[in-house]
C-alpha cells in the first residue's frame, strides 16, 4: 500500500512537471497554432542559462532566476522576430519544419557549449519546504513546483480571460485573417506569445533541472513528451495541460512501478495514439466541427 501511495505521489509530482512544461507549448499553440518542436530545447536553454549564471557568474539564486526569466523573455522575442515573423501567412508545414530546424540548431549549440554530460545545480531550496505525510515524503522541489504551477495557472487564466492582450491572442488563434482585419496587431501578439512561452519554458527547465539535473538529451525528450500531455488535455487548454500532465505522469510511474521500467517511456505515446483515435480533441480542447 505504501508503495502504491508513493507511486501515486511521485506520479502527481512528475505529472505537474509535465504540466508546467506543457504550458509554454500551449501558449504558442493558442496564439499562433504552431506546434513548437523546439520546446524541449527552450527548456534546456533556460536551464543552462540559469546554470551558467549561478555557477560561472556566481549570482545569488533569486537574482539569477529573475535574470534567466528576463533573458528568455528577450530570447523568445528574438526567435520570433528573426525566424518566425518572415513566415506569417506562409503554409503551416514551413513553420513547423522551421521549429524542427531550430530544435536541431539549439541542441547542437548547447552540446557545443556545455557538452552532453549531466550537470547539477548546487542545493538551494530550504528543507523546510518538504512535506511528510506518514510514510510518504515529498521533496521540497515538488512543493515549490506545486506552488509555482498553481500561481502560473491562475495568472494565465486571468491573462487570457481579462487582459486585452490575452483576448487578442485568443482572437488571433481563432482566425488570423479576421483578427488582422479587425485591427489586432498580429505581429505583436506573436512576439509576445513566443516571449512568454520562452519565459515559462525556462522556468520549467529550471525546475526540471533541479530535480533531474541538467542534460540536453533529457530535456529535449521532455519537450517531445509534451505532445501526449497536450493532446490528452486538449491542444488549446492550459488547465487541460496540467491535468493531462498529471494523468500522463501517473501512467508513467505506475507502469514503471508495476509493469516494466523500460515500458515507462513509451506508454505516453501509446496513450497518445489511442486518444487520437478515440477522443481527438482531448479532455478539455475546443471541438471544431467542420462540414462540407
Amino acid at each position: 500500500m505504501d508503495f502504491f501511495l508513493q507511486l501515486l505521489v511521485n506520479g502527481v509530482c512528475v505529472g505537474l512537471l509535465y504540466g508546467i512544461s506543457a504550458m509554454g507549448f500551449v501558449m504558442i499553440f493558442k496564439s499562433s497554432s504552431v506546434l513548437n518542436f523546439a520546446h524541449g530545447e527552450l527548456l534546456a536553454l533556460g536551464a543552462f542559462f540559469f546554470l551558467a549564471l549561478i555557477t560561472w557568474a556566481q549570482i545569488p539564486v533569486l537574482a539569477a532566476f529573475i535574470l534567466t526569466l528576463i533573458g528568455c523573455f528577450i530570447l523568445g522575442f528574438i526567435i520570433e522576430k528573426f525566424f518566425l515573423r518572415p513566415l506569417i501567412g506562409e503554409k503551416l508545414i514551413f513553420v513547423i519544419m522551421l521549429t524542427v530546424g531550430l530544435a536541431a540548431m539549439f541542441k547542437g549549440l548547447i552540446l557545443l557549449i556545455w557538452g552532453g554530460n549531466l550537470h547539477t545545480y548546487p542545493e538551494f531550496l530550504p528543507e523546510s519546504l518538504a512535506l511528510k505525510l506518514g510514510a510518504i515524503y515529498i521533496a521540497p522541489v515538488y512543493t515549490a513546483t506545486l506552488v509555482i504551477s498553481i500561481i502560473f495557472l491562475v495568472l494565465f487564466g486571468l491573462f487570457f480571460k481579462q487582459s486585452s492582450q490575452g483576448i487578442y491572442m485568443r482572437s488571433v488563434a481563432d482566425n488570423q485573417k479576421a483578427a488582422l482585419s479587425l485591427g489586432v496587431n498580429v505581429r505583436r501578439v506573436f512576439a509576445l506569445s513566443w516571449a512568454i512561452a520562452a519565459m515559462v519554458a525556462s522556468m520549467s527547465g529550471i525546475v526540471l533541472g533541479i530535480i533531474n539535473g541538467v542534460n540536453v538529451h533529457d530535456l529535449s525528450s521532455i519537450g517531445l513528451k509534451v505532445f501526449p500531455v497536450v493532446i490528452l488535455g486538449g491542444l488549446d487548454s492550459i488547465s487541460g495541460a496540467i491535468i493531462g500532465g498529471i494523468i500522463i505522469g501517473l501512467l508513467e510511474t505506475f507502469t514503471g512501478g508495476y509493469l516494466s521500467p523500460s515500458l515507462r517511456d513509451v506508454v505516453p505515446y501509446i496513450v497518445l495514439v489511442f486518444i487520437l483515435l478515440v477522443k481527438p480533441y482531448g479532455l478539455f480542447g475546443l471541438v471544431e466541427i467542420e462540414r462540407v
Binding site: P86, G108, Y269
Partner: protein, 356 residues
C-alpha cells in the same frame, strides 16, 4: 518520326495530355537518357569504392525521400516517423530473409508492403482530423516502433542485431559496392518512374487537391480519408523499400540508427530539395548525404587540430547545428528548395542573353 521539339516561347499546349507530359522538350529526354547512360555504364567502373559507397547512400536516401515527398510535398501531411518506418523495412527484410529464407527480390518488396501496413495504422488518426494530427501520430509511431524494435527480442534479437544472408539472383552474388550500385540505382529509377507517373494519375491529382484545400477537395467528391491513407501507405512503402535495401547493403543491422534524428534528416531532404518536386527529393538526398560526409570529414580533421583538442571542444554536435541551420536557411530564403534553384539556373541559361 516526330519532329525534335525545343522549348516553345509561350504556352502552346492544345490538350491535357500535352499538359501532362513528363518532359517538356525532347532535349530534356535526351539529356536524361545520356545522364542515365553515364550513370550506369561509366560511373560504376571509374569511381573508387568510397565514391560508390557515397553514391549508394545517396540512392537509398533518395528512394525514401521521394516517398516522403509524396506525403509532405504532394499531400501536405507531415510524417515524423519515417526514420522508424525505414527501420521497419530493414527489420522486415532481415526477418523474412533469415526466418523464411525468402530471396532478396521477394524480401525487399514484401518488406515495403509490411512497412506500408504498419504506417497506415499510424495514419488512421489523420482520417478524423485535419492539419497536424498526423504529425503527432507519427511522432508517437516513431517512439513506439523504436521501442518494439529494441524490446521484441524473440523477433528482432534486441540489441544483438540481425545478420542478413547475401543477396543472390541466378547464382550471381550481390555484394560489394559495385553490384549494390546496380541494385540500388535500378530500384531508384523504377521508384522514381512510379512516383512521377502516380502524380500524373487520378491519385496524384487527388493528393494535390487535398494539399491545396481539403474542404474543397471533399466538396468535389474526393474521399479524403481514403486518399490520405493511400498517400501515407505509398510513402511508407518507399521508406520500407529503402530500408530493406539498406539492410542488405549493411549486412548486419541494429535498431540504433532508426531514431528521430533520421526522421528529421529525411524531412530535411524533402524541404531542402523542394517540396512537391520529385527530382527535388533526389537533390535533397544528395545534398544531405554529402553534407553528412563533409561534416564527418571536417570533424575528423578538427579532432587533430591542436587548438580544438586543447580547448576541449567537442565537434560532433556541429553536425546537428549545421543540419538545423540548413533547414532554417532554406525555409527562410528559398522555401521551394534546390529544385527551384536548379530551375532558375536552367531558365537563365535558356533565356540568355535576353532575359525577358
Amino acid at each position: 518520326m516526330k519532329k525534335f521539339s525545343f522549348h516553345p516561347c509561350g504556352n502552346y499546349r492544345e490538350n491535357y495530355s500535352q499538359e501532362l507530359n513528363i518532359f517538356e522538350t525532347d532535349f530534356g529526354r535526351v539529356c536524361l537518357i545520356l545522364f542515365l547512360a553515364v550513370l550506369f555504364l561509366v560511373a560504376p567502373f571509374v569511381l573508387s569504392p568510397y565514391m560508390l559507397y557515397i553514391l549508394n547512400m545517396i540512392g537509398i536516401a533518395a528512394i525514401a525521400a521521394i516517398g516522403l515527398n509524396i506525403l509532405i510535398g504532394y499531400t501536405g501531411q507531415i510524417s515524423l516517423g519515417h526514420g522508424a518506418f525505414f527501420g521497419v523495412g530493414a527489420y522486415a527484410a532481415a526477418i523474412l530473409a533469415t526466418r523464411l529464407g525468402l530471396p532478396f527480390y521477394l524480401a525487399i518488396p514484401s518488406a515495403g508492403i509490411i512497412t506500408a501496413l504498419v504506417g497506415m495504422i499510424f495514419g488512421i488518426p489523420s482520417g478524423r482530423l485535419k492539419g497536424l494530427y498526423l504529425t503527432i501520430a507519427t511522432l508517437a509511431g516513431q517512439f513506439i516502433i523504436e521501442y518494439v524494435l529494441i524490446h521484441w527480442d524473440s523477433m528482432t534479437k534486441g540489441t544483438m542485431g540481425i545478420t542478413l544472408p547475401t543477396a543472390t539472383i541466378f547464382q550471381w552474388e550481390i555484394s560489394g559496392d559495385r553490384s549494390f550500385f546496380f541494385l540500388i540505382f535500378i530500384s531508384l529509377v523504377l521508384t522514381t518512374l512510379f512516383a512521377v507517373n502516380i502524380m500524373r494519375s487520378k491519385f496524384g491529382r487527388a493528393f494535390i487537391a487535398i494539399r491545396d484545400n481539403d474542404r474543397a477537395a471533399e466538396g468535389m467528391g474526393i474521399p479524403i480519408f481514403k486518399y490520405k491513407l493511400l498517400s501515407f501507405g505509398i510513402s511508407s512503402f518507399y521508406a520500407g523499400f529503402a530500408g530493406a535495401i539498406w539492410a542488405y547493403y549493411m549486412v548486419s543491422i541494429t535498431a540504433e540508427p532508426f531514431n528521430l534524428g533520421l526522421s528529421v534528416e529525411y524531412i530535411a531532404m524533402v524541404i531542402i530539395g523542394g517540396m512537391g518536386n520529385i527530382p527535388g527529393a533526389i537533390f535533397g538526398a544528395t545534398f544531405i548525404t554529402l553534407l553528412n560526409e563533409l561534416l564527418r570529414y571536417l570533424t575528423g580533421v578538427l579532432m587533430n587540430v591542436g587548438f580544438v583538442t586543447s580547448t576541449g571542444l567537442n565537434m560532433a554536435p556541429l553536425r546537428e547545428f549545421v543540419f538545423g541551420l540548413a533547414i532554417v536557411l532554406f525555409i527562410l530564403l528559398e522555401p521551394k528548395g534546390l529544385a527551384e534553384l536548379w530551375r532558375i539556373i536552367r531558365s537563365s541559361f535558356r533565356l540568355w542573353p535576353f532575359s525577358y
